[in-house]
Structure formats: C-alpha cells, structure tokens
Symmetry: C2
Subunit: 315 residues, 2 copies
C-alpha cells in the first residue's frame, strides 16, 4: 500500500493529512487559511504548497485525494465552485495537482467523500446501501448504492438537500424553491424562527433577536431545551420536514442505514426522535423499514480527510 | 444463448412471451385473464399453466423472467402485493416457479423492468445513467445508475412517483401526502379538474362532469386541446409539478436521459414542453443539463415482457 495525501479544501481552511497505510488515523495534519477571495490561482498554489510540506520524501507511489465543496465533476476532475469558493467556475484541479506531483489524483464533492468515509470507517460500516446526510449551513450528502458511491453521469448525483418538498416553500441558497435545505438547514431554522418573532409571537428568543447578533439555530435549540414554545415548534417543524424528506430518500434509494452528520446535529437529541418517527410513518410500505436504522456520524471533523483518503485508496 | 420465457403479471391479464434468442421480438405471445380476486394460489397456478403452454419442449437451459406490480423483493424473490393484486402479502413467487420448472427464475418490479427494457432496447439505449418514469393510473419508474438497475437493499429503490413535493398536498393512493402521483397521475389530474369544477369554475368539462361518467385525464386533455381555460390550467399545473420533481430526480440521480412512458403520455405534446422547461429552470446548477435529454418511451405495450426477458438474460 502506498502513502496517501488527503486534502480537504474548504472556504476557510485548506486541511491536509498524511495516511501512510491508507486507513485512519492520519500521522500528520496541517491547516492553512484558504483566503478564497485571492482567487483560484493563489488558492491552487497554496494547495500544492500544503501537500508538498506533508508529502513523503519519495513521491513515487504517492496518491492524492481531494475533497472540495459544491458541484464538481469527479470523472473529469473539474471543480465548478461554490458560494464559499468564488471564481472557481470550472477549474481542472485534479490535473493541475497531478501534473505538479506526477502521481495519481482523485477529487470528489466533500459531502460525497464524507459519505464514503462514514461507510468505510464510521457509522455505516458493513452496509451495502447507505445515505449520509449532513445538516449544517447547507444540507448535503452522499449515497452508497450496492457497495459503490452513487455518482451519476457527471458525478452530481445525491444532492439530497436540494430537492423540493414544498413547491411554494422558501427560496433556497441555490435559488430554487422549497428545498429541504431552505427549510431545515441551520440558517433555515433561524430564519423561520425570526419570521415568527417578526409576526409577533411570544418567545424568550425576542431579546436575542432584538439585539445586534443574528439569531442562530443553536440559539433556537437552546431556547427549545428551556421549554420556549415558539422555539420548540420551529425545531419540531424542521424535524418533520427532515423526516418527510427522509421517507422520500428511502423511496429513492432504499438504504439499510441513514447517517446524520453536520453542526445542526448538536441538536440531534431534539431532532432525531421526531425525524425517525416521521420517516417511519411516511414510508409507503413497511418493507422499507425492515432492518433499517438511523445512526449519528462517528468520524467528527476529520470526516472529509478520511473520505479523500478513501477515494484515493481506490485509485 | 438459451430460451427465455417472460411473464408480465398484471391485475387484469397474465401475459407470457417466448424469446428464443434473448432479444426482441418475441416469437410467441399469450394472454390469460388474471382473475386476481380468486386469490394467490389460483393466480400462481394460471401463471405456471401459461408458461407451460409456451415453453420449449426441452426445459433444460430455459430461463424465466417475471414482472409483477407493486413493491417486491427481487433478491429474495418475494411479491408484497399491490392494489390490483389483493392477498399477495408476501408470496415467494420466484421459488414457486423455479421449483415447478427446475430452471433459473428472476422477478422484478414491473416499472423497474420497463426501465431495464427501455435502457437496453428502447429510448435509453447507449446511456449509462437513465431514469424511466411511467405516468399512468400511478406514477412509477426505474433508475439505471452507472450501467446497472438501482435496487437498494431490498429492491425497493426508485419509487420515483411516491415522493413528497408538497407536504400539505393531496393524499396519494399509497396513503401518504403530497406525492407526485397524487398530483400528476391520470386520476390526480382528473381529481384536480373535478375539484375546480365543484368550486364553480367555468369549463366545457362541466357537461361531462355532471353526467354519469367520471371525469378522466383524457377528457381534461381533450378539453385543453380545444382551448378550455380550466382544463389548460390543470394540465399546465400537472406539467409544472412533474417538471419540478424531475429537477429533484436530476439532483438525486444525475441521469443523461429521462424516458417518459405510460398512458398519460398520450397528452405528451401538451405536457412535455412545459415539463422540460420547468425542470431546466429548476436545476440547481447548469452542469446537470450538459448532454441531458428527455425522450418518449419506444417499446409500447410489450415493454414489461421485454424487461422481464432482459432481467432473465442476466441470470
């Protein structure tokens, strides 16, 4: 087994890790600010530098796996950009890195790679059909189908947060309407709470909303834990929306296990029982629930790096 | 290549076809009334009889493929029943037929098998990622992902008509709320038109609705063709719902081609331009549309038999 260098390209940081034996844990880790505003060339240069600093002395036999946000084409190795990576309209990142190091390189969407990591080394171990759902600033995920990452023709499949569950619902970060992300992401939860406050509903959240700081899903969760009725209702509605869409995803992919990750899962104790009950009530046939389970992600902050390593290990 | 017997088990008829060279066309075809009300045992006996009548003299090397409606488990060979197959709660159809003929047997959901047929021999030929969508009394389909039928852990994946696009929408035949099937199937279109008439809207459909015969999607389509405003609006709304969900399915599976079949596609000239325009406007990124096309099913009434044959050819 050759050494693998894994890269997690984010809007804030470029993280790199060295996996000498193609499995966790990493032996070396580094973190460099992305400075995304400086543009594509500067960021690519920083990626090359960061890999260089962690790469083994001999680069023959080295492999590199890279996770990047937003839609990208893993087959052609091109990154289409994301809200936190302005200017990346169609960057041939795989070939740029491969040309520099003269070794095999694979790239993947960060949520897809997190799915791959949780499937191989985390909460989805041993399953053949798995959905990973990350609920955070956005809602993304990945699907393992019959033991393989589901990609679709350009690698854009499994955008599980960007599906309409309410045609006349709120507008999503992607510009479309009624997507799960618009309703149940962190900003979605905060916005719905803010609208209820603006409509005059009573809540302990009012003091915070009137202040300088913007309302967050975390604050809504905290208020819900303390019994605030408005906050509890908003959290409950988000869970029902996620559960309803989870039933959709069971019909779409018929998985054995669904793994939930992302920052909003810090409210998992509030959300998950209601998500699971809703999904179980809304499947069209009980056969979908045979052997089915919901699990929480296990790999924490390194999930993207472990996923990039896993992808490269298949090169 | 050995001979293949294909069976299309429907609520009205059992159709059987003989494919001597594992490709269309069939050399012999038969049709027997299902008489589903007589129960599982009687129907299974009729299936065996119908196969027997068309099977070649030598059954060594024969293979059998069977398509059946509703959710079923192709891996374990069990049929869970459907509204038009009462009493089929968990029938080991594959093993019953295999034991009788002593040859390999495969079963599949009829919509999945139609997808397989259109992919191998019809409108989806040559693609690696395809969605087949049949819009009829119900809405079903099948997905080809990276050159394979997408099954999921129990073979229940790709129930593409039973996904919620409007959480507070009408109740579906399956009992759940806001599924595409409830909004845009033949009965869905007819019901929405009937509701508008009942609410007092003017329409040339009023004479028909007031008569003895129930309103049908066909009648709504006919009125729309003649410029009736209510009928045109109902057809347009159905197309928008289908197009909205088609964008969901592009995000879920990222196909190269979507094939539309089913009886409601007799209104395809009214529906498809609006379906396509809506889907194209509602994808989250233009990369989904690169090389993407919409096509009409090519295989007609024999699509289920050709799909069952294709499935058996892989045994």
């Amino acid at each position: 087994v050759s050494e693998i260098l894994a890269v997690d390209l984010g809007g804030t940081n470029i993280r790199v890790a060295r996996f000498p034996s193609a499995q966790p844990p990493a032996t070396n880790l580094s973190k460099t600010p992305t400075h995304a505003a400086e543009g594509t060339e500067a960021v690519v240069a920083r990626i090359l530098q960061a890999i260089d600093a962690l790469a083994p002395p001999s680069r023959s036999g080295m492999r590199i796996g890279i996770g990047a946000p937003g839609p990208l084409d893993p087959r052609r190795g091109r990154v289409f950009g994301a809200p936190n990576l302005p200017g990346w309209t169609d960057v041939p990142l795989r070939d740029l890195v491969a040309a520099h190091f003269g070794c095999p390189v694979a790239i993947g969407n960060d949520a897809n790679l997190a799915a791959l990591a949780e499937w191989r080394f985390g909460a989805g171990r041993g399953s053949s059909d798995m959905i990973y759902l990350t609920i955070s600033t956005g809602i993304g995920g990945g699907v393992i189908s019959d033991g393989r990452l589901l990609l679709g023709t350009h690698g854009l499949a499994a955008e599980v947060g960007h599906m309409t569950i309410q045609m006349d619902g709120p507008v999503c970060s992607c510009g479309q309407r009624g997507h799960l992300e618009a309703i149940a992401s962190g900003p979605g939860i905060a916005r719905i709470a803010a609208q209820r406050l603006a409509a005059g509903e009573a809540s302990t959240l009012r003091d915070q909303a009137d202040g300088k700081r913007e309302l967050t899903a975390e604050a809504v969760g905290r208020a819900a834990r303390q019994g605030d009725p408005l906050a509890s209702r908003v959290i409950d509605e988000a869970a029902v929306a996620i559960g309803c869409h989870l039933a959709n995803l069971l019909h779409a992919y018929n998985p054995q296990v669904v793994v939930f990750g992302g920052g909003v899962m810090q409210l998992g104790d509030l959300l998950l029982p209601r998500i699971e009950a809703t999904a179980r009530a809304q499947v069209m046939h009980p056969a979908y629930l045979e052997g089915f389970r919901i699990a929480r992600a296990e790999l924490g902050d390194d999930v993207g790096l472990i996923g990039a390593m896993t992808l490269a290990s298949e090169l």
